[in-house]
């Protein structure tokens, strides 16, 4: 994995992006803008699933109408997010917040998968109910908490408190970040 990261880092495009005066900030701003759309819309869906607001709109309709916006903003998020990673691959890979963020993203994906495999299949039964069933509400709470965690971790990637080139770190941190303090990276 580290080899892949070093290979990515050796790309002229990667360095160019990182050092670019305007491209990097622009991509980062777009990433944050897309956040308002994507997480904002996910939060709207979750709020409907919680049964606290938008009770007049059937769940499936709310879902269907928000979906195109959510999908487009998700694509923008992932694309800009990947570019931000590509600009600084080695450091991101060894950054503890980046790693927690990836884990939370996977859990958020699983949450969606479980929701779709489970209670969503019977949405017709509770579509117009103001307060959806418990497992739907549980998925909504999980989604809200996970995305808050993802945003927090994402913001924290910028800070280098636990970075590999800042030793000494506790052994657990070096283990979690696959950092070998005795190896000097090129």
């Amino acid at each position: 994995m580290m080899k892949l990261m070093l290979w990515l880092d050796s790309h002229a495009w990667s360095t160019g992006l990182h050092e670019s005066l305007w491209a990097y900030p622009l991509i980062e701003s777009t990433h944050v803008w897309a956040l308002a759309f994507f997480v904002g819309f996910a939060a709207l869906l979750d709020i409907r699933l919680l049964g606290v607001s938008f009770g007049k709109v059937p769940v499936s309709e709310f879902y269907r109408k928000l979906m195109p916006w959510t999908v487009v903003s998700f694509v923008v998020m992932v694309t800009t997010g990947f570019l931000l990673f590509y600009a600084i691959p080695v450091r991101s890979y060894q950054n503890i917040f980046f790693r927690i963020k990836i884990v939370l993203l996977i859990v958020a994906g699983l949450n969606v998968f479980v929701f779709h495999r489970g209670i969503w299949k019977r949405v017709a039964e509770w579509d117009t109910v103001r307060r959806p069933p418990k497992s739907a509400r549980r998925a909504a709470v999980a989604s809200l908490a996970l995305w808050a965690g993802i945003i927090i971790c994402g913001r924290m990637i910028a800070y280098n408190w636990f970075d590999c080139d800042r030793q000494p770190q506790p052994a657990i941190i070096n283990w979690l970040t696959s950092c070998d303090p005795t190896v000097e990276l090129p």
């Binding site: 900030p25 980062e28 701003s29 944050v32 803008w33 956040l35 308002a36 759309f37 997480v39 904002g40 819309f41 996910a42 939060a43 709207l44 709020i47 607001s53 938008f54 009770g55 007049k56 709109v57 309709e61 709310f62 109408k65 928000l66 916006w69 995305w147 808050a148 945003i151 927090i152 994402g154 913001r155 924290m156 910028a158 800070y159 408190w161």
Partner: protein, 160 residues
């Protein structure tokens, strides 16, 4: 004229709270992270109403239903944004004073709040009854103003 405000910005930075946030290693990043979480929530609440005003989403439902549905979340998120935003500002008020994006953000924020709490909310509550043009115009103005606030906020971090 703006120069005469400098002492106020300096005073802000030397308030106890400003100094506590400034001198802490982790307070600023943590507050900023929560500022961003509230931003995502506020963004969603503003967008659903604005996109409906523009006629791009949930057209079968009235704007006022969506406006009222989002109301508590919008207020809560805005309050969280203002509280965390003021804390962040106090810790680096002098930097903000010299930051162009900061002034753009504050200018847009004042306009956005004034607009949303007066004309914006009235049109949202009235919905399509005020004709086809006004809701679209209100949605567009709101998106542009709040978008500028968000953009300016991000660029404060890039300057200096």
């Amino acid at each position: 004229m703006i120069e005469s405000w400098y002492p106020f910005f300096e005073w802000c930075e030397f308030t106890t709270i400003g100094q506590i946030v400034r001198q802490s290693l982790w307070l600023f990043p943590v507050i900023e992270a929560f500022h961003l979480v509230a931003f995502a929530l506020l963004g969603g609440m503003i967008l659903i109403v604005d996109l409906r005003l523009l006629g791009l989403i949930l057209r079968q439902h009235s704007t006022s239903d969506l406006w009222y549905g989002a109301r508590h979340w919008r207020r809560g998120a805005l309050a969280a944004m203002v509280v965390t935003g003021v804390l962040l500002f106090l810790s680096e008020a002098v930097k903000c004073f010299y930051s162009q994006p900061f002034w753009i953000k504050i200018g847009a924020l004042i306009l956005a709040v004034l607009f949303s709490f007066t004309i914006g909310s009235r049109i949202a509550k009235a919905g399509d009854r005020v004709g086809p043009i006004w809701p679209k115009l209100a949605g567009l103005i709101s998106i542009v103003l709040w978008g500028t606030v968000a953009w300016g906020g991000r660029w404060i971090g890039f300057s200096g």
